[in-house]
Subunit: 200 residues, 2 copies
């Protein structure tokens, strides 16, 4: 076979790619096996040949969705020349849900965290890890900016990181539920102000 991926690996990937949007929109309990078979055109036998159960598909879907957002942001951060602009990427990426490359159903972190926090420990844990990783990334960017002389010293990096994440995720929730994308933009202005504040 010329393909480097085995048939099983390709099918697994196909299932995850085609169902990731469904899980992100409908949540774990709201997504049924028949949703998955309808979307993929595969049968239950095929899906259960590649995944242990529904939960394993949901976890893979979440990891696929969150990796998508992470890569999207990482690519922009790498391009940004200054630490200020690197931090601003967060405010820009989410701007008005310019979400051509954003997962269907909105932010998978928010969706999975709220969906799973009282019902599915495994998914909850995955979402928590992604949040903590995001927090750490922001903190490191701020610290690096301080070292580079771009930012003032004495910044409460944890407070800033958590506030940025809260603003973005809360802003997404508001924008989605009210159907007003501009509401997110308003909130992102505060993210902007938060970062600009400690610029030298």
């Amino acid at each position: 076979m010329e393909n480097e991926l085995s048939k099983a690996e390709r099918t697994r990937q196909f299932i995850v790619e085609t169902t990731s949007g469904i899980f992100n929109k409908k949540g774990y309990a709201g997504t049924s096996l028949s949703d998955l078979t309808e979307a993929t055109g595969l049968t239950k036998g095929s899906i259960y040949g590649n995944f242990k159960n529904k939960e394993e598909v949901a976890v893979a879907a979440f990891e696929y969705n969150s990796a998508r957002v992470r890569k999207l942001i990482a690519a922009q951060i790498e391009k940004a020349p200054t630490y200020y602009e690197k931090l601003m990427v967060y405010a820009k990426v989410y701007h008005s849900f310019n979400s051509a490359s954003f997962p269907d159903g909105g932010c998978p972190i928010l969706n999975t965290a709220v969906d799973a926090d009282d019902t599915n420990p495994l998914l909850k844990n995955k979402a928590a890890q992604v949040v903590l990783r995001w927090k750490k990334n922001i903190e490191e960017l701020i610290s690096a900016g301080v070292v580079a002389g771009e930012f003032k010293t004495g910044i409460d990096t944890e407070k800033i990181a958590l506030s940025m994440i809260a603003l973005i995720e809360g802003g997404i929730m508001i924008a989605k539920v009210t159907g007003k994308p501009v509401y997110l933009d308003e909130v992102l202005k505060t993210v902007n102000a938060l970062v600009t504040e400690f610029k030298v």
Copy 2:
């Protein structure tokens, strides 16, 4: 009968009170009729005698939950002597989830907004209305504070209101999913700073 509430009204209220926490934790799709009968000790016949369907129970549960939070906040705001302190109520009420009187499962606005935004238009609309009402309340408090000479003029009230809501809701999400209530407190510090900024 000495009771001012009819039997039907009392049962309806009983069902809503005893199931509101379940809907808030498990979401609409994740809550089954048997969850409701188990929790109430009633049968399906009784529940469907008082509600048209599961959706109607869920809507009543959301309204009950959100009214609880609204009343809790309104009571504190009324007690606060200054507009600054009135605005600060939001930061205080959510502090460390001092949530003895807070609904089971966390903030019903966040839960319902995320749960329903892609799946249940009726519930989504209810959540949207509550968010918009909250936004308006904050805006009015700020405007009144300006008139009272407590706050500077030229404040972008909409931006502040949306940012406060986003910080609180996003902070709740972070705190719940990571299991770290202090993370919400960190975020609430930013709410505090946001309001303090335009104090005269």
